[in-house]
């Protein structure tokens, strides 16, 4: 099916033509148009990016092409989607669409865990696709499956065939998804936010893989993403969408160099770029709001017939850090490195050992009752504002709750305090009687910030607080956080995987790996002059929102991937830290 012709870039040959596409979604208020009059052509071998913020209709477009719009909620209301041979996809029967899916167009989704069947082995899932579309015979299927896994560069491919999805890492699962998508050598691959759920290093590898496969097979890629860094790295052409309409369509270099529409310009300006953040004023380091020494968090792992503790997960191991008033310490690391656990330990949401002092008061060994007044001094803002608000309580009541719980205000005083907090975070106080679902993501995060501020804390743990937000909203929430910090002298522990955001907000950075800090220092020391190999690797994987910049391949991992799980009684070897410059500590290379 794949014509092995070397088409090159000279004569564009369209493989998919979308014209005048409109998609409507049923809402309680009537039909709402989420994609309006969208037209584009997908040329053979190119990568077209649909970029836009949430609600821009980019995913709906992809689903419309696949004929996977959620029935009966959404439907194509106008327009046509045509393959190169004239096959019309809009309004085609399920039978006809099934022939097109996987054989000619296939799709990979954001969350590889939920896209794979958890009770089937990888090998069977691959064979199923091959047999379903009669690509090969039953006898050939295992061989073909193995070949496909090798194609997507999975290590120990033979072993993977017999494994279940949960036994693989996130990156490997996404590779399997790509293998399944490419099983029938489709002409077009639609990738809907394929790397958003992945760590930055894994993201770089997966993007590299998609590019390599595209070169080899001449597949055309339609990529959907909100990340302008990914756009810059992958796209040949970009379509910027907003509220279901095309704002701008341009070759990637033209778009980044000279965006024509104000929206595209705004979108590109909001993208945080490493190394462009202004210097931050030095906070005074006489006192420390947060003083953590030798913090360890271990979770017991049970097993065996008697369900006894057989091993321990050393989530955090011997971590020290201090944060001065008005200072931001950023914790960086890949998922599972223990950075969120540290945040939870500060609020005593997980059992911990060691010493945590908040504003000079020791928290170790206190009863819950004695802990309550100290807890007031440190509050947390979580990643997903939708999940951290109670859907069945008005937002006003939720912001008031901390004050009520601690008996700090009641009656009209409480009302006044809540109104003041709403204004403080830039929300109109008359929204107090509404429920969380009536707000946008950015507004919800403001509500969460208002709630965290209610107790006038000295320190705030921001756990991926802006990761779920669109870039423009993200920038404004970061502005708010910065403003609050300057006025109230708050100490922030800013937990994030996003290097560019950290570059914007941090005074100091601590890089974590396997529960320990491997490098710490001022922002400039760590991000501009990384010393530890792990830090370098992380930084090398960050996509740069500049299509003219050729990112060198991700640095290889040094040594095998470690595990923080140890049998009972065996301790994790702690890294020895060396001070290589004033305030810049790096773990021993050997460790």
């Amino acid at each position: 099916m794949t014509a092995e012709e070397n088409s090159g870039r000279a004569a564009p040959r369209p493989v998919l033509t979308v014209s005048g596409l409109s998609v409507q979604v049923a809402t309680p208020e009537g039909a709402k148009t989420v994609v309006e009059d969208l037209s584009f052509t997908l040329n053979h071998g190119e990568t077209l990016c649909l970029a836009g913020e949430s609600g821009s209709g980019k995913s709906m477009t992809a689903l419309a092409i696949m004929g996977l719009l959620p029935y009966p909620m959404a439907r194509i209301s106008a327009g046509s989607i045509r393959l190169a041979d004239g096959t019309e996809l809009a309004g085609a029967s399920e039978r006809a669409l099934r022939k097109v899916r996987a054989m000619r167009i296939s799709m990979i989704f954001q969350e590889p865990m939920t896209s794979l069947n958890p009770v089937m082995t990888i090998g069977r899932q691959l064979s199923e696709v091959l047999l379903e579309h009669k690509v090969c015979t039953r006898a050939e299927a295992p061989g073909r499956a193995l070949e496909l896994l090798r194609d997507v560069q999975i290590t120990e491919a033979e072993k993977r065939l017999g494994q279940y999805p949960h036994e693989l890492s996130g990156g490997m699962r996404q590779r399997v998804m790509i293998a399944i998508a490419l099983a029938c050598s489709p002409e077009i691959l639609i990738a809907d936010e394929p790397t958003t759920a992945l760590d930055v290093t894994v993201q770089a590898e997966v993007l590299e893989l998609i590019r390599a496969l595209q070169r080899e097979h001449g597949t055309t890629v339609l990529m959907i993403t909100h990340d302008m860094g990914v756009v810059a790295e992958m796209a040949d052409r970009v379509i910027v969408l907003r509220n279901g309409r095309q704002e701008e369509a341009a070759p990637v270099r033209t778009l980044f160099a000279a965006p024509e529409t104000p929206y595209a310009r705004e979108l590109l300006d909001a993208v945080p770029r490493i190394g462009e953040a202004p210097a931050r004023p030095a906070p005074d380091r006489v006192r420390h709001t947060v003083d953590v020494e030798d913090l360890s968090v271990r979770f017991p792992m049970r097993g065996g017939i008697l369900n006894r503790v057989t091993a321990q997960l050393h989530a955090v191991e011997g971590v020290d850090f201090r944060i001065a008033p008005g200072e931001t310490l950023a914790l960086v690391g890949e998922s599972g490195c223990g950075k969120s656990t540290i945040g939870k330990a500060l609020l005593s949401l997980v059992p911990w050992q060691g010493s945590i002092r908040i504003d000079g008061q020791q928290m170790a060994g206190l009863s819950p009752r004695a802990l309550k007044p100290i807890r007031r001094n440190v509050q947390m803002v979580f990643q997903d504002p939708g999940a951290s608000l109670d859907a069945r309580m008005t937002v006003g009541k939720q912001v008031a709750e901390p004050l009520v719980v601690h008996g700090l205000a009641s009656g009209s005083e409480l009302q006044d305090r809540v109104e003041w907090l709403f204004r403080r975070v830039g929300l109109p106080p008359d929204h107090m009687d509404r429920f969380p679902h009536e707000f946008s993501g950015g507004q919800r995060q403001r509500i969460c910030i208002a709630r965290a501020l209610a107790l006038r804390p000295k320190a705030i743990v921001a756990d991926e607080s802006v990761s779920a937000l669109d870039v423009s909203v993200q920038a404004r929430v970061l502005d708010l956080l910065r403003e609050l910090q300057e006025e109230e002298g708050l100490a922030y522990l800013f937990i994030s995987h996003d290097m560019a955001v950290i570059d914007q907000v941090a005074d100091r950075v601590a890089v974590m790996n396997l529960g320990q800090i491997v490098e710490t220092g001022s922002r400039d020391q760590v991000l501009r002059d990384p010393q530890h190999s792990y830090t370098r690797r992380l930084l090398s994987a960050v996509p740069i929102p500049d299509p003219t910049h050729l990112r060198p391949p991700v640095l290889p991992r040094e040594g095998p991937v470690g595990s923080p799980v140890r049998p009972l009684g065996e301790d994790v070897t702690r890294f020895a830290m060396q001070e290589i410059a004033p305030g810049h500590w790096v773990a021993d290379r050997a460790a």
Partner: protein, 301 residues
Amino acid sequence: MVMSDATIAPPPVARKRNAAWVLRELLRRPRSAFGLTVIVLMVGAAVLAPWIMPYDPNDQMFDGLSLEGAPLPPSAKFWLGTDLLGRDLFSRLILGTQTSLIIGVLANGIAVVLGATVGITAGYFGGWIGGVLMRFTDLMMAFPALLLAIVLAAIFKPSLLIVALVIAMVNWVQMARVLYTETRSLAQREFIDVQRAIGSSTWRILGRHIFPHLVYSIIVFGTLGISTTVLLEATLSYLGVGVQPPTPSWGNIIFENQTYFANAPWLVFFPGLAIVLLALSFNLLGDVLRDTLDPKLKGRH
């Protein structure tokens, strides 16, 4: 500082989901409107029984039997016929509505409270408390419900209250199971973590943040449970360990007359029909209630 995301108007305020709205929604759908009508009629019959019964339900009327002493089939005089002792079946059915509904509400109420308490406690605290409670629940589930009810009813002297308690003992397990699972997943949600971080007490978290999310499941399971309860009462009465004669209940009317099924089928058919109707009505109502109250299904009906 730009605040444009704060000024974008949020979507229009959703219609308030108060009781009047729920009632309107229920009447709008044929299934639930039917269920609701039947239930209202039956409650009305139970409450107004002394006034609407055409005859004394315990009066063994001489003209209620044929010359040969056989019960009379439905006629203009005895709408639903008479039973073996010459009592008017229609009157007995109306009085039986009282018993069946009391059992349904009382037994089911006890079952709901007990099941909710066990389920929420086990789900929220987990650990050994949860382990012990849920193993006990599993044990109750594995036990043949009818056998247990018969044993319990046989040990205690049968009365309306005892029958209700016995039925509750058997019926609370499903509620506990469902709420346990729901509470467990709720307790791991982030907004509960937030509450712990704020320093809210356990009672506050349970009452203010967990319970409101479970109310709808409880309502729905409660209504579905009523039909099970009425059926179980009928079964117990049928087996002779339920409500004792002469107090009529739909179940014991069937029990008393089963031997005459071939000659006087109306004696079994009408009470059976009443049971089926009540169970069906509550099921329909519960079903629609779930669809209307679940916010996740909003805008899809």
